[in-house]
Amino acid sequence: MTGEEFVPLSLTPILIGSCAAVACALPGNFLVLRRQALIGDAISHVVLPGIVFAFLATGVIATATMMAGAAAAAILAVVLIEAIRRLGGIEPGAAMGVVFTTMFAGGVLMLELSDTSGVHLDVQHALYGNLESLIWLDALGWESLVDPVALAGLPPELPRMALTLVVMTAFLWLFWRPLKIATFDEGFARTMGIRTTALGFGLVVAAAVAAVAAFDAVGSIIVIAMFICPPAAARLMTDRLEAQIGWSVVFAIVSAVLGYVLAGYGPLWLGGRDSVSAAGMIATVSGVLLAGAAIWGPCRTRSGAPSTTTV
């Protein structure tokens, strides 16, 4: 494939997909280790009512208001999950399940009842995103990467996802040490003066930010898959958290690139005529990578003590 074809049509979706995948995989590492990976699922569902509400309240699709609405919904969901868990005395997984299905259903209902036709806001879009449409028509070839006029026509999702990735990286870099200590041993972390509740909340909020930004660009399927599959596969490759982060980034990028290419060309290679959903294929590739790591990864055996405490 030539640069004239690749750069305008495939480069930006691949870059956006990769940024989204890595931005979600980074906090996903800690969510998986904290047995909270489902919260990625929960967040990507609860942002729907937040986004719809923000749209209904303002009447425009602006990233800032959508982000605000989604973040507000995510925080409301986290608070609700905690409240239900404590007041009901039930386990966190059940509380999460109740909150996110209810809020997602509420979002779908709001979509159905309100006049959002003609606006780029529907369930299909929410699930699969529109990665394939994020093309860069101003580009003529590789030389456009240094052409300011062409660069001005970049899809806005690209700088947005790149910024999200920078924010996620900065968050992990800044709070690396307390996150690691608090994830391994929360009680000990508290005695060291680490505010573990605020930190855990911060992690969920950071994950929500990544989810909201990625949700807009690539849809919730990629978000859910990237929170779990690359970190889980990475955990099976190494026994060091630092290396696990590295592996998860590799798996996320491989999923995004390979998934995009397979979605675009795979069916043609197989004699089909149409390409398939890139978001779906990226999520599928990440799942296949996880399966591969689960079969061949070097660090698959559980050896630690079970987590039980006595009062």
Partner: protein
Amino acid sequence: MLELATIGGTAPQTGTALADSPLAIRGLTVSYGEKPAVFSVDMTVEPGRMTAIIGPNGAGKSTLLKAALGIIRPLSGQVQVFGQPMAAQRSRIAYVPQRASVDWDFPTSVIDVVLMGLYRQVGLLGRIRGTHRARARACLDRVGMGDFANRQIGQLSGGQQQRVFLARALAQEADLYLLDEPFAGVDAATEKAIIAVLQSLRAEGRTVVAVHHDLATVPDYFDNVFLINTRRVAEGPVSTAFTADTLQAAYGGRLATAQVDQLSRALV
């Protein structure tokens, strides 16, 4: 009957002034749900001594420790560490949680766990330097785990895991050591190694408080005892507070009379 005077909520026998105590607790009540796990407990730990917190299962031993450390929020009560609020004295406290309270499949190495004990020195973004690593290694040597520094923590036996936790506490170079069941599920060699380290801490003038299960070893290992069964039952030196009467009061029918007799004979 001096020891009978300690049964119930009466004043402790230690005579340590509140401000001098490494850990002074007043009126501490903790509840999970409706039933209190710890009810209106006073405790005054004597400095430079080894104190065992003992009591039946579910008596609130670990809860008392966690509430004193601020890990769980008490309903009421005051905790003072060296005469000041806990938050002002964090650097003087080291805590060894129950081994089973963490996930040992966490992807990290033995030396990394010990380095966690240096978090307050290294700080949020400070670099871990050679001196920090040397100190962590010295702490591992002290518990006999020097050869395991680069092992993945999940590959350790229960006793080895417990020693790594103790090494992490040693790295904190604290004045007050609080341990939750340090001897639970460890091999005899580890138990010996741990008690030797704790005794050396006492010899250095540091204070040790441990939740303990094995009544038979209390007189050998500890100077003082704190008996709890949701409420404080008795507190003081082993000779006066660890008696057949106080044990009966703490454990009730759960401790066979024969066992009490045997213990009290051992105490004479």
